[in-house]
Symmetry: C2
Subunit: 138 residues, 2 copies
DNA sequence: TGCTCATGTTTACAAGTGTAAGCAATTACG
DNA sequence: CGTAATTGCTTACACTTGTAAACATGAGCA
């Protein structure tokens, strides 16, 4: 009885997966360009992060298992593709960060950054320009 | 040989302690008002978070051990006080969040929030007013 | 067809975290 | 003064996360 690469894609989750720090590095690569083979990802990360192949592969498996990646069998290997959008993940992280740190509002964060991380004149100008372009929702 | 409550305050760390999610809840209470006894904190959190006394006490101990809290013995109990400022912790979290999600810059975050979480006309006005008050550093 | 290489799977393991029971000692109360 | 209640300390345990070795199997080449 032969055994093709097993499709282990998650239960079905597609919305809002929790991505850990290490996993994030892999997702970034795939958000930037997909699909990719594990080989590509491994070689990119063996340098940048000094991870062993096994480490990268484990993370790919975990991401697939939790539904953050889709895999398409190709011979005995997979092509990996993000199953969640970067902006959705960022939105989730942002939401929880704002809630926890600043009661969910943006203003206090901006005030905080201005005070503690400092903004240049140029930053301020850019932000103002940005605000002018935003169309108010709600 | 009698045994007074042991002073287990951290090595000396005072700057930049990593505070976990659960611990954060305790710190909030102490940043809001300090010093407090464990009793106070326990009763506040038994409701809000449905934590058992033991849980709260463990977290207090961990926070003390890592230098996030100072303790002042009082009979057989302690008075707990934050050893780190909230704004310093927030600053650290903010820095790492901005780095990871938005390359360290504020503008993309604001843009993101505008798009994904939406801002009211009033929010935008407030932000503009805020920017006008900021004195550019650097 | 046999062997080596690449690739995914299983197992591992330490540190960190959430959550808490149980013990010891001290204080408070009858 | 003796007993109950309070409070901190020790220990525990499962789950997550970072990091990876060992293993099995299919693919490609000799």
């Amino acid at each position: 009885m032969s055994k093709k690469p097993v499709q282990r894609t998650a239960p079905k989750a597609q919305e809002s997966v929790a991505i850990t720090d290490a996993e994030w590095d892999i997702m970034e690569l795939l958000w930037e360009k997909a699909p990719r083979t594990s080989q590509e990802i491994v070689s990119l990360l063996e340098e940048g992060r000094e991870w062993k192949r096994a480490t990268v592969v484990t993370l790919l498996a975990r991401l697939t298992a939790k539904g953050a990646l889709n895999t398409e069998p190709q011979g005995n290997r997979f092509l990996y593709t993000p199953a969640v959008e970067r902006s959705a993940c960022v939105a989730e992280e942002t939401r929880s960060f704002l809630d926890r740190m600043f009661g969910g509002a943006l203003q206090p964060l901006v005030a905080h950054v201005a005070e503690h991380h400092s903004l240049s004149k140029k930053d301020i100008a850019e932000l103002k320009a940005l605000l002018d372009q935003i169309k108010p929702n709600s």
